[in-house]
Amino acid sequence: MQQNFYPAHSDAMLTLPPLWVSQVEAHLASEETILAWLEIDLDTRLRFSRGIVIATNQRLLAKMTGEESWHDWSYQQGLRLTCRDHAGVGNLELFDDHALLAHWCYTLAKDTGANRLITEFTQQLNSQLTGETQIQPVQVKCPTCAAILSSDQETCPICVQEAHIPPSTWTLFRLWRFAKPYKWRLLTGFLLMLGSTAATLVPPYLTMPLMDNVLIPYQNGKPIDVDLVTTYLSGLLAAAFLAWILGWSRTYMLAKVSERIGRDLRTTTYKHLVKLSQEYFGGKRTGDLMARIGAETDCINLFISLHLLDFATDVIMMSMTALILVSINPSLALVTLMPLPIIAWLIHLVRDKLRTGFEKVDRVWAEVNNVLADTIPGIRVVKAFAQEDREVARFRAANQRNLEINDRVNKVWALFTPTVTLLTEVGLLVVWIFGIWQVSQDQISVGVLTAFLAYIGRFYLRLDSMSRIVSVTQKAAAGTKRIFDILDHVSSVPEPIKSIHLPTITGRIELRNVGFRYGTRSVTRDINLVIEPGEMVGLVGHSGSGKSTLINLICRFYDVTEGAILIDGVDIRSLPVAEYRKHIGLVLQEPFLFFGTIAENIAYGKPDATRKEIIAAARAAYAHEFILRLPHGYDSLVGERGQALSGGERQRISIARALLIDPRILILDEATSSVDTKTEKEIQEALDNLVHGRTTIAIAHRLSTLREANRLIVLDRGKVIEVGNHAELMARQGYYYHLYQSQSRNIDTEDHLAELDPKSGSKGDRA
């Protein structure tokens, strides 16, 4: 959709909320066109209310729903429109040179609208004051949020993501997507099921002639017809064998399919999960996610292989039984089947209660898991502060809640099964009464009544087990929903619809008006920066100034909220995520080593690397020698977090890892800050090899490590405040100068302490 940036009157009118259209139209002067509007959803006392602020080509208009008339401000010298936000509330303020003229509040849902309003207002104001008619660049923009779309994107990824459509309640049917590849096997299984169920229904049918043609005539004095008995009994045996064979093959076939469905489900979920953005993992707890992939898929699996199978068998058996009963004697069949609707109604009644109950149980179970996932990795802290008892209490509380909720569910559940049993007994009684009456009236034979009782016994038995399906179905539905919660989650760093491929890059990075917001907190805003290929740039600033955020944005762990990041002139959002990240080498403050050998860890980003390459990378990272000193050299195992290695050693392995993939862009996120100064020197040497010839972005807490950088970008509270090399910034005596001064004082004392260290060590000997 090619939309002109400079909207025609009709365009802006079209998007205007319907509530306002007539009012606005009535108030507009002739020749007046709407440039941008912002719907206000709060009044100035922060109560929910409605209003609108409109920028036209002549003035700024505003009105709240409660107000009689419009406020307007014509464009004039000194007018300023700005916005700021805090805790989810945005403030749009209009100033002139002397005072605040007006202000409006809105929730952050409207934030992009506000920014657009301000941009349009400011542009219009400038053009009116200078008399210039601006030539606006024609850009494709998202119609709702005005994010600039790259030429190949048809829909705005941000807006698509924000479509909050709740998933359908028939979640279980969504499992069909996973069952589809096995549909032929499923069909075979189903046919086998039909056959085996039919076979199990033969024996009660044969009791009828056995009774009427053999036993009762015998009681009345006739001898037993041996041939007839043999026929009937062999029929019984054959039916039993057939049922056995068919039942076995059916269960085997369907269990096999369900295992495969379970496998696919698990793999798909995990595959989807690891591809989700960093943001998703930031908001979720590990225990919960692990439970979902592990336990929930297992629950679904069990449901398909066991419960669903049983249920289907039951349904088939019941309908077949009903058919047989009706064919034998319709009136008795009618009486027999009467309790069925009552039971069905009962099942329906309990269904809702149980489903919510089981959802609760699942949630509380995840809570219990979360307590574990929180404390076990942090066990050192727990022990250091002697808080074991507190953690136990926390676990006990979560467990107690689990118990309470289970108790509540069980109360309903416990009542359910006995009620079904009671109804069964009552139903049997009814059949007895009606049957005896019919026999006495010579309407049916004793054999028919026996057959009915034999059938009905099975029938109600199945009803009883069918009622169990209610709970397991709900459980599985809840589990399925939680799995699909993950599968439905669209990555907030979506893959481009039409991607551009950049097999090689030069490493030129450009940040254009980059802004990022985490929840309601705006972390960075309006950052403009160009990093040339091969340049080393240092990011400097207090913690919380947005350095790491900037790096996360460049790595595309998150997507920018405003603006764009371009690599060799291409928006990174139009590159396939994995392909893009291949160009980036990342060395983190906390190097993470996976369980495996050192060689595997170095080759993590390039699994097909040769041993020679691995060694070359390790040499360049100054890791070669210490690796050789380990008992098994490159084949030494390192634990979950590489516990056996020191911080410096782990860091050098992660540097080797980054070196091996030979990225054009290198990102060092506090690569040396968790080690002492001596180790830092070693790492620094390794890093110098790494940095050579690459575009490098480095964050370092110790400013001394950034002296090599071509340029330093000084950030404060999400904004770039100074740019230049060390000498320039020192000469400027600004923010960086003060930062450096205060740090060099600290480093002096640090060195001083290091000198004192041996002494304090000898003092320590007396202990």
Partner: protein
Amino acid sequence: MSQPDYQLSRNAFGRLVFVDKDHQVHEGIVPIRAFPMTAPEQGIALLNVHGHELAWIECLDDLPEAFRILIEAELASREFMPEIKRIDKVSSFVTPSTWWVKTDRGDTTFVLKGEEDIRRLSPAALLITDSHGIHFLIHDRLMLDRHSCKLLDRFL
């Protein structure tokens, strides 16, 4: 009531102005509650635009009337945590779900992205974060009416 060693006023631009004992002027200062949920009345810091603390107020009541009104007004204009009084309806019991609620600040709707956005502050108090990060408070869920309780219960 002790007279603080600084001056507070509001300028024409609607900003709070702080003059310290050395007559240094700070414009656009913001008061921040240290414990907005657990102890809102105690511990309020006055920060300058750079986020540095200028003054610490142990308790608002200790301040002169004029200062207290200024700070309270500023706090009120920044604090936005509607308290849910009633849940009229929810679009579905599976998330994301849209909630229609009555709050102490009027009626509104919001989107709950996931059950994990409902945070337990205490056994009875809940904090609900909507899809835009706005916090909604439920002081005591047991005090809600039956209808709201029932709806809420499905998400807990």
